[in-house]
């Protein structure tokens, strides 16, 4: 019964398309770290409904391929940040449907307040729905070269700033559709019928 979480139907769209749609409200450019060419093609097709009608300009969405294939999510983060090169990125996991505007706002504020002293802004123990400096790509590459694939290790850096979620809406940002139960519960909350095969 294994299936691709990014393609789970949510609100009539594949989850990845919904996520792209939601993220474009907050960010001008979206990079999908798809792993390899084949997955990039599949995901490109999956997000097509979200791009149709020009609601989201196609040029705002790009795909990044892993340079460290088979090295897990840290390799995906590396690929995405490498594509950006400069600035900050909001980083989400492909199974997370919610973006919290208020939490993102407070994270941006924390990053701006810390200035050069911050490279990661995250909620405690949460590597996603977090802000990362694009320049971290170099250090991540070094970690991957050493065989260190732990994404959470980035949260232990001295220049990582933690922002505690304060409301239910902010905590909802960390919901991930990692199990059929989580998916059904999420769909029930959205008052949408689960669309299991």
């Amino acid at each position: 019964m294994g299936r691709d979480k990014a393609l789970l139907p949510v609100g009539g769209l594949p989850l990845i398309a919904l996520l792209v749609k939601r993220m474009t409200r907050h960010c001008g450019r979206i990079i999908i770290a798809a792993g390899d060419e084949r997955r990039a093609r599949e995901l490109r097709a999956a997000i097509a409904p979200a791009l149709e009608g020009g609601a989201i300009a196609e040029r705002r969405v790009a795909f990044a391929l892993d340079r460290y294939a088979g090295c897990g999510p840290l390799a995906g983060l590396h690929a995405g940040l490498s594509e950006l090169q400069t600035g900050w990125a909001l980083v989400m996991g492909s199974d997370m449907p919610n973006v919290s505007a208020s939490l993102l706002g407070r994270m941006r504020l924390a990053a701006a307040s810390a200035g050069a002293a911050a490279a990661v802004v995250h909620a405690p123990l949460q590597p996603f729905h977090a802000l990362y400096r694009a320049s971290l790509a170099l250090e991540i590459a070094e970690r991957l070269e050493r065989g260190d694939r732990r994404l959470r290790a980035l949260l232990d850096r001295p220049d990582a700033v933690a922002v505690e979620p304060e409301t239910d809406e902010e905590r909802e940002a960390f919901v991930n559709l990692n199990t059929p139960e989580a998916y059904e519960a999420y769909m029930a909350r959205q008052q949408l019928a689960p669309a299991f095969e």
Binding site: M1, G2, R3, K5, A6, I16, L19, V20, M23, C27, G28, R29, I30, I31, I32, A33, G35, R39, C71, G72, P73, L74, G76, L77, G80, L81, L84, G87, W88, A89, V91, M92, G93, S94, D95, L104, G105, M107, R108, L109, A111, A112, G115, P127, F128, L131, Y132, A134, D148, R149, R150, L151, R152, N176, L177, N178, T179, P180, E181, A182
Partner: protein, 192 residues
């Protein structure tokens, strides 16, 4: 930097591992890592490499991989494989698993008899590898994948799996790994 300029871009990281959806991914990864390790050991073994450099052997392996039964492969390669798997002149076979203690060293004292092989294809070999793990173990490894695994954790999974095979299973996996090694090195011209 103004707040509005921070995170003007977003990155979505595709997650394969973790939880129930990731179970299949976890299985795939564990099975592939173990098979990769076996094929790697085959390719590092001098006797095995010598076999793979023989065009006749390669042909037989290709036929086995494309659906011919392993009985025929064994008939054609029997003596040579026995030399490798059984130690032969004393220089082959043991090298493959000598370092880790969990590799093919069990094959060094056994002959290859395709008639009773518990697996005959790469897919069956992967399924056999997975049989050695409980669902709980696969889930645990799959959960680890969400945060990324270190090389050390990967090595532990591989050694853990390899240590669970019986002699018969190791013999079968050796043959399947040889077929897979031939497939993966298919583009490499034979050394002459």
């Amino acid at each position: 930097m103004r707040k509005g300029l921070i995170a003007a871009a977003a990155v979505i990281v595709l997650l394969g591992g973790g939880g129930y959806w990731g179970l299949q991914y976890g299985k795939k990864l564990i099975a592939e890592r173990v098979m990769d390790e076996m094929v790697g050991q085959v390719l590092q073994d001098e006797e095995m490499r010598r076999l793979l450099d023989d065009p006749e052997v390669r042909r037989a392996l290709r036929e086995a991989a494309s659906g011919e039964d392993l009985e025929r492969l064994r008939a054609e390669l029997g003596a040579q494989l026995e030399n490798v798997a059984g130690g032969g002149d004393g220089s082959g076979g043991s090298g493959a698993g000598a370092e880790g203690g969990a590799g093919f060293d069990g094959a060094s004292s056994a002959s290859l008899d395709a008639g009773d092989l518990p697996v005959t294809t790469v897919e069956e070999a992967k399924a056999l590898v997975l049989e050695k793990f409980s669902l709980g173990e696969i889930r645990r490894y799959a959960d680890l994948l969400r945060g990324g695994l270190t090389e050390e954790e990967m090595r532990l999974i591989r050694d853990d799996a390899l240590s669970r095979f019986s002699e018969d299973e190791r013999r079968a996996l050796l043959l399947v790994a040889l077929i897979e090694a031939e497939r993966r090195t298919g583009e490499r011209p034979p050394e002459r």
